[in-house]
């Protein structure tokens, strides 16, 4: 009998210890394939889902996925509704002022214009998602910026003629152009933007940031990050040198 009580007590202790481990809530948008999207089972899926789960496993953290509108993704991080932003967010100086970033897990990339015709006017009406580096860039070029809350709506605006072209991340656009059957095409030159994609965290969460940084380092060193990049973005994607160098920074 005493044994039974002891075992129960030990089990109870063990389970509280397991519970005491903090859950890290991972905030993402869920509308930005192949970075992150909600798959047909209603679960968060994509490059960042797989990467995030792997990082959490390496850092020995329990993680839970939460979706949030892109527009309010930073304020909700700050008020503590979740602990990280892992949503294809480019590291920029402006954002770095309000939140902290891990090192990049996706090398600095190019953004591109997509239009419905070769001769689209790139100084005309350009669609972009609100509060993205692409929207900021379009505003600077002098073109008329047409903002939308979700990336999908920016594409729809080009298809229905509301905008002359859409300006967005190249890797987001590539599958859409490829599968449009010729209705959409890349126009103009690619524009290198942003300092790579990193995870956003609250500035005071330095400990969590260090844990994720270490895990990203490890994944860069053993090449597993590159494998994920190729799996989700294709052979053409820019990868990290496997010797542990940090060209991305």
């Amino acid at each position: 009998m005493r044994n039974l009580i002891l075992t129960t007590a030990a089990l109870a202790l063990a389970s509280t210890a397991a519970l005491a481990q903090d859950t890290v809530r991972m905030g993402t948008e869920g509308a930005y394939p192949p970075y992150n999207f909600i798959n047909d089972n209603g679960q968060v899926d994509g490059f960042e889902r797989e990467l995030g789960d792997e990082l959490c496993a390496r850092a020995e953290l329990t993680c839970e996925w939460v979706t949030n509108d892109w527009d309010s993704i930073i304020p909700n991080l700050q008020s503590g509704n979740y602990d990280t932003i892992i949503a294809g967010m480019s590291i920029t100086e402006e954002r770095d002022k309000v939140i902290d970033f891990t090192q990049d897990y996706y090398p600095p990339t190019a953004s591109a214009y997509v239009a419905a015709a070769e001769d689209a006017d790139l100084s005309g009406v350009i669609a972009a998602q609100t509060a993205t580096i692409q929207a900021g860039y379009v505003a600077e070029t002098g073109a008329t910026l047409l903002e939308f809350a979700t990336p999908d709506e920016t594409i729809a605006a080009v298809r229905n003629g509301e905008a002359d072209a859409v300006f967005a991340d190249y890797d987001y656009l590539a599958p859409l152009v490829e599968e449009s059957g010729g209705a959409l095409m890349f126009v103009g030159d690619r524009v290198p933007l942003g300092g790579g994609v990193g995870m956003g965290l609250r500035e005071s969460d330095t400990e969590l940031r260090d844990k994720f940084n270490a895990a990203i380092d490890a994944m860069k060193a053993d090449g597993s990050l590159n494998e994920l990049l190729v799996k989700w973005f294709g052979e053409e994607v820019q990868t990290y040198p496997v010797d542990g160098g940090d060209s991305g920074k």
Partner: protein, 293 residues
Amino acid sequence: MFAFCEDPSSIDGLTWLACYLTTGKHFDFYWSFITVLTLLAITAPVALAFGFAGAVAARSQFLPLRLLGQGYVAMVRGVPDIVFFLFFVIALDQGIEWLVHQARCPDWTEPIRNGLEFRVCPEAKVPSSRAPQTLHQLYGFGLAVVTFAIVFGAFAANVLYGAMRAVPRAQIETGEAYGMTSGQTFRRILVPQMWVYALPGLSNLWMILIKATPLLFLLGVQDIVYWARELGGTKTSAYAYPHPDWRVWYFLGLLVFYLLMTAVSERVMARLSARLSHGQATLAGETQRKAGR
């Protein structure tokens, strides 16, 4: 769901559609209709209660209570819904956490407000960050109900305030002639008679409330409009069921849903109105009396 849905890329036609419409994501969509209906079913009576309290306060003899009632009605009606939903919910959420923080972590030394950040001790998080996601969703839903009730309560308060003043003075006077106190005339004569005057205004509010549910998404509750937009958007082969932009079909579905809601509401309101007019000193009540009903 079905066995033949194992490999979506190998099927087409109606089979494909059957599989497509029964994905986990679509069930989330179907569930969201229940979420919205539940929200309406809970919010409407709560908002009415807020409205009643507001109206009673606004016509109180006691000055502070009157100011409180009038202030509530004026302030909430004057603030755009979307601002209210963005600001008030975050304020309410942080307010709750701040109170819990004061109770549970008296020894916490770090500042709670750190620039734009809001940090309470981990024990004070509501709901706890270890809680399952469903609890977080339930909490968001609760916040939504409270916020909707406060906003629509203010409008309802104004409607009820007007309705209370519309009850003919002669009715109250009769009650007074029988020796009823002001509380008794309020309960026995004013309140039972005011509903017929309040009904048109309240039915307006109900219609607006039905259509205001997309605001839920601002609160992190995934409602029917969110799912329609998400499911209808262009799907590349990253998804198991790729398709072009189908938003128009999803929104057509929503249109039918909202029209049905409106049609049912109209009918219920018409019956309610006929019932409330019975024996009232209004034109409708008089017509009913003459018709011998």
